[in-house]
Each structure stands twice: as structure tokens, then as C-alpha cells.
Assembly symmetry: C2
Homo-oligomer: 255 residues x 2
């Protein structure tokens, strides 16, 4: 059965989507069967994996409202062994339609139940907000990855995030744990170094080393519609995500 | 009466808060009476202006639920002539409490009506999502500033944003216009240059020149609790926001 992991942080622009695409790709290239579920209305996972959203018939919103169709919602991507359920602007209205439904936080649990046997890993990308869709993702998950830019304002949001995670764990999913904190967009400046030190103090072993360095190749790859391993595998960005993904592989699939 | 301007983009981490703090500061230092309203649960405006959120009694959430108390919600900041209504984690629950209220999109209109005579400019910071709180901000506004990082994924979200703005204009506020598009975190790379070119093609004169350059001093200043004009006014970040703010001053307060 697949391990289900949500990549989340309500602080915007910290590298959630970049992490989902590049970790998923690395594990698929190592032979794992991987599914990415894009729960963000911006739908950036599609562009990063070369899928044209406008041609997609069934998206994450449909899956949340009608969990039984999740099987048909999967798209093959440019990466062998990596599938995607596309997120798009239709997710914007889901909040309203869900608010009166029974078990509104558990729709994704139901949708992913039928998919779990077909994969080793399901990675969920989320929007930079704690909407009902993000709560669905956390409720359906075994673990969480928290990307944090090593900057001051990103640090501030972490306490808010941990509070939400505690609440979901208490009320909706008591087996939910934090798998790792990922330091992103790191440069050797005084500020970044101070913030990285603060994160290591706060989270100890949960912090994966080394940080992902700021590297323009990572920002370029979605404009080419491919992950970093295809665009610039030997770049700092390619090397850092390769190292990080190997650590996660050892954590999730020991032996 | 104050001009009310919302700074928005549902793409995360594009420089919304950094723009609000530094534009508001520049205009206040030029003698304008300025109010910042933080409609983001992350509440980053408080940190950037040296205000301790934990000591705040009345926040944006209270003002949205009880518009008549907006007068008491204002805090003086480190900048002469610049006041702030603090946003905090209580905004997370507002979506639920508002959904059944009459005129739920116009609560902020009402709250700001009593404040407008006291200011020349009211700048509203928003969260990276199109929640009911962001819609309240757009409904209450005369104009919009759209910060866009000159990167591929940020470009993708602009179409989604323009769609939402059209809808708010049609249904809730037909005098809402886009005042300017601000290019942020710009470096002289090929990718950034290409995206900047694309933004100029799409938005023409709405794009303010020159772009705000990527500059670590801008990321440092919130950790000192002050705007860039106090932390490093002669830095690239300080100079760029000073130029940009002067253009906006000429646009908003001609003659
Ligand atoms: N290590 C890095 N170095 C340089 N650029 C990066 C890096 N990681 C991500 N980026 C770029 O920074 C921007 C923000 O990253 P990304 O979109 O992955 O963040 P996000 O957390 O998913 O954002 P959102 O909150 O909007 O969903 C993107 O343009 C991306 O290409
Ligand atoms: N021009 C710049 N150069 C370098 N760093 C910048 C610049 N502008 C903003 N930053 C930094 O980049 C990060 C994102 O900026 P900011 O928080 O202002 O964006 P935002 O759009 O308000 O994010 P959110 O979507 O989470 O509200 C912050 O750490 C900020 O200090
Ligand atoms: Mg994203
Ligand atoms: Mg912000």
C-alpha cells in the first residue's frame, strides 16, 4: 500500500510544488510507482510535469466531490512510473460545495483508498492556505513534508502551521506525523544561515540536510515542462534534490 | 477621502507583504496619512513594522465581524503617519463565520467607511488565496496592485487572478481597476528577462518600471522589525522601492 505524504506550508512561495515534482520524479526514476495529487487551484504541478491542463477532463475537484472516479483521473507524465491528478481553477469553488457535505474532511481519504494499492508513494501538493482542501490532504496522509525558505517571514508561519497540524492530528487523523522539514532556496548569506540555525534548533533531526540551495535551474525547469532531473541534473538544484530524495527514500522505504 | 488599494496575487511568495510595507512607508515619509490593513492570517505586516502581534487585542478578524470597531483597531507603527490593523491566525476561522452572514462580501467596505476620512491611502495586504477575506478586500477597493515574481510559475497564476478580478468587478465592485503590475525579485537571468518581457507584452503601460531587483536587504528588514527605508535605504531594494513608490505617488496623488 502506498505511503501518502502531504507537502504543505501556508507560507507562499517556499518551494512546495518544486519539492513535490522533483522528489516524485527522483523516486519514480528509482523504480517506485508514484502518484502526485495537485490540491492547489494554481495547478503548477501540471506545468512542471509537461501536462496541458486545458485538455484535462477530470481534475482533483471532481475526485473530491465524487471519490469513486479517482481511478480515471490519473494522467501519465513525461516521467516513467509517475502519474498525476491535475489541480485547476475549479478547486476554488470546492470550499463552498463541501461545507454542507457529511464527512467533508474525509473525501480525499475515500478517493485515495482505491488508488493506494497501485502505488508505492502518493505525494500531495497543497495551496498556500489552510482551506478545507488542504485539511482533506492532511486527513488522508501518513506523513507531512514541510518546505521552509530560510528567511525570516517563512519562519514566522511555521508556528501557525504546527498548530494546524496538531488540530488535524487530534480531531481527524491521529496517525499523522511530520516526516521532515526541508530547507529551501538557501544561499550562504547571514540571514539564511541564521534562519537555518533556528530551524535546526526548533526541529532537530526532522530537518533534512543539506539545504536545497537557491539555483536558477530549478526555476527554469517548469518553463521547459520537465523536472530538474531532465532539465539540469548536474546543477546545484539537481544535485540537492537528488540527495534529499535519497534520504527520503531511505526513510520511507527502508531495506 | 483615502484611496483604497489591495495588493494581491494568489501565487505565494511574490512580494505582496514586502511591497505593502515599503510602499506604505515611503508614502508616509512623504507626508501622506497611510493605513495598512493586514488581511492575511500569517500577519507578516506586523513583524515588518515592528509590532508584537501577541499583545494585540483587536485584529482584522474582529473588524470584519464587527465593522463598527475599526477605529479602535488601529496601531501606530515605527513609521510616523503610518497605522496598521493587525492580521493574525484568527482570520483562519472567518471563512466559516462569514458564509451565512448577509452581505458577507461587504463587511470590509463598511469597516473602512468610517476610516477613510482619516487617511490619504489605505493599503490592504492579502493572503495567497482567493478566500472570502480577499474578496472583501477587493470589494472595498478603488484599485489593485499585482506583484509578480519574474518567474514561470508566477506567470501562470496571473490569468487565474485576472479572472477573479473580472468577476468581483462585475458582481461586487464595478469601479475596481488594476493600478499597476509590479515585477519583483528580478535578477538579470535569461528566465527573469523572458518573463519580464512577457509581462510587458501582456500588461503594457500597467507594468511599473524598473523591476524590483532581488536583494537580500529586503529579506533582512522584517527580521529587524523595520521597513527597508530604515534598514538599508541605499541598497538596491531601498532604491527600487523608493523609485516605484514615487511613481505610485504620482499616479494616486497627481499635483
Ligand atoms: N531552490 C530554488 N532555487 C531557485 N528557485 C526556486 C527554488 N525552489 C523553487 N524555486 C522557484 O521559486 C518559486 C516558488 O517556488 P514554488 O512555486 O515551488 O513554491 P510553492 O511553495 O509551491 O508556491 P505556492 O505557495 O504559490 O504554491 C518558483 O518560481 C520556483 O520555480
Ligand atoms: N526583491 C526581493 N529580493 C529578495 N527577497 C525578497 C524580495 N521581496 C521579498 N523578498 C523576500 O521573499 C520572501 C517572500 O516575500 P513576501 O513574504 O513579501 O511575499 P508574499 O507574496 O507576501 O508571500 P505570501 O504569499 O506568503 O503572503 C520573504 O522572505 C521576503 O522577505
Ligand atoms: Mg505551489
Ligand atoms: Mg504576504
Amino acid at each position: 500500500l502506498a505511503r501518502i505524504v502531504t507537502v504543505t506550508n501556508q507560507k507562499g512561495g517556499v518551494g512546495k510544488t518544486t519539492s513535490v515534482i522533483n522528489i516524485a520524479t527522483h523516486l519514480a526514476m528509482r523504480g517506485a510507482r508514484v502518484l502526485v495529487v495537485d490540491c492547489d487551484a494554481q495547478g503548477n504541478c501540471a506545468s512542471g510535469l509537461g501536462i496541458d491542463k486545458s485538455k484535462t477532463k477530470i481534475t482533483t475537484k471532481d475526485v473530491i466531490l465524487t471519490p469513486s472516479i479517482s481511478i480515471q483521473a490519473r494522467h501519465a507524465t513525461a516521467v516513467e512510473g509517475l502519474h498525476l491528478i491535475v489541480g485547476d481553477h475549479n478547486l476554488v469553488g470546492v470550499e463552498e460545495s463541501l461545507s454542507a457535505q457529511l464527512g467533508r474532511e474525509r473525501r480525499l481519504v475515500e478517493a485515495l483508498a482505491t488508488l493506494r494499492p497501485h502505488y508505492d508513494l502518493i505525494l500531495i501538493d497543497t495551496a498556500p492556505s489552510m482551506s478545507i482542501v488542504s485539511v482533506n490532504a492532511l486527513t488522508a496522509s501518513d506523513g507531512i513534508l514541510i518546505p521552509v525558505q530560510t528567511e525570516y517571514l517563512a519562519l514566522e508561519g511555521v508556528a501557525l502551521l504546527m498548530g494546524t497540524i496538531q488540530e488535524v492530528r487530534r480531531l481527524l487523523n491521529n496517525s499523522l506525523g511530520v516526516d521532515a522539514v526541508i530547507m529551501t532556496m538557501h544561499s550562504p548569506t547571514l540571514l539564511n544561515t541564521q534562519v537555518a540555525g533556528h530551524l535546526r534548533e526548533t526541529f532537530g533531526d526532522l530537518v533534512l540536510e543539506p539545504p536545497i540551495r537557491r539555483n536558477i535551474r530549478l526555476a527554469e525547469s517548469p518553463s521547459q515542462g520537465v523536472p530538474i532531473q531532465f532539465h539540469a541534473p548536474q546543477s546545484h538544484g539537481g544535485q540537492d534534490y537528488s540527495l534529499l530524495s535519497s534520504e527520503l527514500e531511505a526513510l520511507w522505504f527502508p531495506g
